[in-house]
Symmetry: C2
Subunit: 302 residues, 2 copies
Amino acid sequence: MIRYDLKHLATFVAVAEELNFHRAAERQNMAQPAVSRIVLELEDRLGVKLLERTTRKVRLTESGRYLLVEAQEILGRIHVAEHTTRLLASGTKAILRIGYTTITGHSLVPDITREFRLSNPDVRLELTYMTSPVQRDKILQDEIDLGFIEGSFQNSEIESRPVAHHRLTALLPLDHPLTAKKSLTIDDLAREQLVMGTRVEWPTLRRIIVDAFQSAGQVMKVGQEASSLTGLLGLVTAGVGITIFCGMPRFCGENAIAARPIVTNPPVLVETHLAWRRTSINMAKRRFIEVSQKVGASYMTP
Amino acid sequence: MIRYDLKHLATFVAVAEELNFHRAAERQNMAQPAVSRIVLELEDRLGVKLLERTTRKVRLTESGRYLLVEAQEILGRIHVAEHTTRLLASGTKAILRIGYTTITGHSLVPDITREFRLSNPDVRLELTYMTSPVQRDKILQDEIDLGFIEGSFQNSEIESRPVAHHRLTALLPLDHPLTAKKSLTIDDLAREQLVMGTRVEWPTLRRIIVDAFQSAGQVMKVGQEASSLTGLLGLVTAGVGITIFCGMPRFCGENAIAARPIVTNPPVLVETHLAWRRTSINMAKRRFIEVSQKVGASYMTP
DNA sequence: GGGCATTAAGACGAAATCGGTATCAATGAT
DNA sequence: ATCATTGATACCGATTTCGTCTTAATGCCC
């Protein structure tokens, strides 16, 4: 598969830059015949003449000129990759792969990442949207480092901490009669056509809401489903029905949708936990957890 | 300098993708202990642990995960570079490095390249602006393949063909009294303040113009100099003076500047030649020369 | 809980590779 | 015409590389 290696490329670059085998050999700390052989070997393996050489002069061919530039960049890139790898190992830089859900994604996670980036510019955050059950899998399989999940995560390998909780909120069209009330009850909502997120995308929230209706001895009427928050808000704005969510999504604006808290007894809380593998904890992760708890505290209404 | 080579990277990628030393060995057509050794060597030379391995399980470290992605891309890039190098050598693809001057750059070269690209999509053109004398050097030193130069180029190693010629043109502000005449003479211009390109940027054109004045027994009065065509046109538009150029630059628009032919006896022609090294001629170059002569013909007023 | 299968790593010897010295052939400068 | 300098070749010793055999560790299954 690999017919030549980095020494071939580096030696070729040296010769192509110097246009002189002796000086190139010197630069590479080799004897001149070795350089000759390496370059000949490279040409042979590529099946391409890279240098036109008389005994007095060396010139690049068109292919050689192209390969010179490529090889320079490739070698440079290898150098950078090597350096970055070392920085990552030393903890100077870090990459955190983080999962988030729709509920955490619209305000909690943005707040946390903004705060975290301020004090940790050398940590790259790779944020990926996925549902809570998927996150649990990915954490176990070590495909993400941290997960913002709905509900806790009990496992010998996993640790999780509550970072925020939300109360249920009804989001309704501005012209809906129920906007007259300051807060709503399950009984209020049971009489309405609801717009709901699909079970696939909001497995945890769906379950919590269903339970809340059950506790109140009611059944919810789902008129329409959507699989994204944008879709849900669109349907509500269009007056198709009321949806039930956590808090007020920041970006939807209060000019189209009204939010009303849903009051229940006992109160229903959607708990967001931050979860990670107990092993392979490092400084960056530790600091991220710290910031998450600090920022999350403001979401912890008593 | 180079502490490891492509086999290290490729083997590491195989192990990191398979997360299994045996399967990786199989994929690389090696024995398993060899794979172990290669990876250990890579880790040793980097000074970084890339894989966490028990006797039952292999997992990437953070550094390893990063290096995996980098190494995949680097190997891919090497693959592409190798392929392209071969295509260049076979003549399937080509790169032509071409020099052009201000005079040729505003209409002739754009016309030629547009035409050439239509029939030769696999040839990349690298166009670089430089004066005619610089182009002569660069052609000799094999730093460009083809040069559009003012005047011819006589040399045993170099071949050149005329592709176009221009007559001298005066460019004057629209409100200038001389715009009343259909054509101008050197005597007309000798009475005016001229705006001229610098000797550094237009060595050939400057020389031709000076000679024309000399033949008419006149001396030109240079009021202001500029080192770019844009600068010259700006000065003319501002009414600072008249400039002498070849033809009418397309992009300057006729709403601000008037062009008048300069009549002399015998007529003064600025000849543009296309020049190249006699050796190292190839198909792409041959086709480019062909197209240049075809397109240039329309610039060859008798 | 013990045996078994499977994992990665170590030891060692054969083989190939690599690199340096000495040398050659070609060519441009003097 | 001569000489210095260029890149290529021959050969040999040192090193590296790789495969086979083997070991140590660990999860799995009964």
